[in-house]
Symmetry: C2
Subunit: 497 residues, 2 copies
């Protein structure tokens, strides 16, 4: 039996933000090691109840336990690796320029580092109940930055969210942190989210989900008396451009790789490849045949929740009803209620270029093969697509070199540019960029994955002419925390003399 | 005789943005050294005509040549020092994580660096005809990032702007860059600015000026079909908090320092200290007397343009008409038309706390002394003010240590925190932060001064599984550009093995 939770009232939202603000005053004083310790304790508290978490999430999301175990481990890795990055402190972007009293006018001593923005409101996603929800990437980044977090649980896995929140709160207690450092609220209605984003004590927002949801929060935040930064990761179609020579050399392998990428986790990854673009020739026909055969064999599966299943059916049907769109392959099994229908559709590039509806995401196991007459037309398709989390290119080295225009356009459209691989599988690493031009996200300069995501929730403060004893440890001459700092334009860990 | 320029037509705006976009495709391919060379050539071309530039600017802005010479040299230093920072390449934030094919699943090779956003529209400021206008900080940062610039000249110094633009265009020609890399448009009406910000090929905006102007552009940019980042630096009142012991030890020196800071450049700096906060005692009376005497001796002077002079008079009168506000001192000279009226006003903190109109900037040589009954009330004043470019604290070391709450609140409100100094005099250095919480700027995470300002106009792209020969030089194994890079979580200049 699913537990139902009451939406937070406006009074509860106000109390939560006030409590978060009070906690901010304490929490931001915690040093980097204490914050790292907190994140690692959260990871351990979650691990202690992993079986219960995974089984509850599986019941709520219809995702199988193997898939959720991978995600759970990813979440633990995020917490511990961001904890290490937090403690390491390079993200503070410390810059020191020493003064010179003999210059006319005297040159002041200037020392800059990042400080936390304040309470961050995080919206859990539906498709990642662990990694991009309650104690997921946004939460880990905000806590590492020194910001308390108020989370709005995703109603589709509210019980999982509650259990994760309990683990975080146990960790906070063990670390001697104020209760308000992490607050968990339920809210199936949009009103709760709206009140949270509009609250004057909210200083930033993290969101992972649909374009409609992310854009609505962005607009609310910009409409405030004091606008605040919103990082909304809103998904994308993650187009794949396949050049002829590479496809010819390996159509079967590429088809297998993509059949898996399109359908894994019931196609519910934000990096799911929703558009495949190729040049009409024998190899493309072969590729389509191979891919189609594998799509046919994929069994329908329950989607995350009935709303997503309904939306998938509607968007799929709408796409298939467009002029010149045909089904290339679909599952040979009959779907039950709320189940997906793995599908490969096809359309000539000429029609794709005319119809922007086909450029939009059909969230689920659906991909559209866009057939071009030549690489020129393929370049037009690249030009026509919107901003993306990822673009992928299937090409030989010679093809990459022979098509600089296509390569440059694709780079321009995305946050991550994959060569001869699949966009799904977002590595957690400092070098990862999980972001991209609008509408993939609301700010292409920031990432949702990797420790650079901490910077979404911090801002620089420059201390001018403070004496050494009054400066934060991070900026003291002797560099007691042994941090990387740029001193008089040179990176170093040396003390300032 | 002032030359008048016709506003750009909508067609001219469209042509400019298309030409800028075309130039982007060329310009972004230029390597870091070529971009640096361009910035240095701009500086040289401006130096070649410095006398004409300075005399024209003086005629247009009423600022004297000595003041403008300092600003001119600052502008040259910005161009050359940002050129060095550009070539140095640390700002690219390169992160490399090498792959591991033996891991299950295989770990991809990931390499991330910043790339330019695209055409940037820059709005020249009225108060800095060189440093924050046509070839000022925003332009230098955008060009360093690899973005072409379209500048809207400030109508109050359109001729200066035209001359500077000619110098930039000569530099572009000498460096073999496409004409569209820098485009200069006139626009006295808001329509030109609006069309520029709304144009689909505009990818970012830099603005320095009034709150009304900066906020309007921010709203326009967020209302686009594709929202784009706007960095508006919108000024602030730069409050100064003076604690009793320090004031007692040095009231005369502090008064002299502040008399100068309040009135220099006719009070038309964005870091002008508009609010002085002290505790009512004998020292504060002494300070007021010293400061008042010096304010009396400051001669009225022509403001930047009649609009600013009119606004100064109106805002000053409105402030002085508020309950319990009194004039503490004003110039003993009679002002002519369009001249400033150097003024020190005073108000009890109790009234200041009730009346938010008094928290707003009166742009010009005007400062309001807020008199508190004790440090507690001073802390309430700190709590009540809005986000600021700077806060200043006048205090002994012991007073800093004894008032952690006040110190923390002030840090929270500003981008730069000055101890025992004045906020005017914004050093051009990597460690500078010229930004701050809203409404000082539209995004507290970025700076308008210092080479970190380049990051406003760039975004990360991650290359996944690209072979070494296909990667940009910045990311190649052998590190041919000898850049600082974070490789497998360690900063180094070593090649990747």
């Amino acid at each position: 039996m699913a537990i139902t939770y009451k939406d937070a009232t406006i009074q509860e939202v106000n109390d939560a933000m006030q409590s978060s603000w009070n906690a901010f005053k304490e929490y931001r004083k915690k040093d980097l090691k204490e914050r790292a310790q907190f994140l690692k304790t959260v990871a351990r508290e979650m691990q202690d109840v992993s079986a219960e978490l995974i089984s509850t999430a599986s019941r709520e999301t219809n995702l199988d336990e193997a898939r959720l175990t991978v995600e759970f481990n990813r979440t633990v890795f995020q917490l511990t690796s961001y904890a290490d990055a937090c403690a390491n402190g390079t993200w503070l972007d410390i810059r020191i320029d020493t003064g010179d009293s003999k210059r006319n006018p005297p040159k002041p001593d200037l020392r800059k580092m990042l400080v936390p923005l304040g309470p961050v409101v995080v919206f859990g996603s539906s498709n990642f109940p662990f990694a991009y929800s309650t104690a997921g990437g946004d939460t880990a980044c905000a806590l590492a930055a020194g910001c308390p977090v108020v989370i709005k649980a995703h109603p589709a896995h509210a019980e999982t969210s509650e259990l994760v929140a309990n683990a975080v709160q146990r960790a906070a207690k063990k670390c001697g942190l104020p209760e308000g450092v992490f607050i968990h609220l339920h809210g199936a209605s949009f009103e709760v989210g709206k009140a949270l984003v509009q609250h004057p004590l909210t200083k930033a927002v993290g969101f992972t989900g649909s374009f409609e949801g992310g854009k609505a929060l962005f607009d609310l935040a910009n409409g405030r008396e004091e606008p605040i930064p919103v990082f909304s990761e809103m998904g994308s179609v993650n187009p794949v451009f396949m050049l002829p020579a590479k496809l010819k050399s390996d159509a079967a392998t590429i088809a297998t790789m993509y059949a898996d990428s399109i359908t894994q986790s019931v196609g519910q990854f934000c990096t799911n490849p929703g558009i495949l673009v190729g040049v009409e020739d024998y190899s493309l026909e072969q590729f389509k045949k191979f891919l189609g055969k594998q799509i046919q064999k994929v069994r329908p599966a329950k989607m995350l929740h009935p709303g997503i299943a309904k939306s998938f059916v509607q968007k799929r049907e709408k796409a298939l009803a467009q002029k010149s769109v045909a089904v290339a392959a679909t599952t040979e099994f009959e779907p039950d209620e709320n189940e997906s229908i793995p599908t490969l559709a096809e359309v000539p590039a000429k029609e794709f270029l005319k119809n922007t509806l086909l450029h939009k995401e059909v969230f689920g196991p659906f991909s559209l093969l866009v057939k071009c007459s030549d690489v020129n037309e393929m370049t037009q398709v690249a030009n026509a697509i919107e901003g993306q989390l990822t673009c992928s290119l299937i090409a030989t080295n010679d093809e990459v070199k022979a098509n600089p225009k296509l390569v440059e356009i694709l780079k321009d459209k995305c946050g991550r540019f994959v060569l001869n691989g699949v966009p799904t599988g977002v590595e957690v690493a400092l070098s990862m960029h999980h972001g991209g031009p609008y509408p993939a996200t609301t700010d292409s300069r920031f990432t949702a994955v990797g420790a650079d995501g901490i910077k979404r929730f911090a801002r620089p403060v420059c201390f001018q002419n403070w004496s050494n004893e009054l400066l934060p440890d991070e900026l003291k001459n002797e560099n007691p925390l042994n941090l990387w700092r740029t001193v008089n334009n040179e990176l170093s860990k040396d003390p300032v003399i």
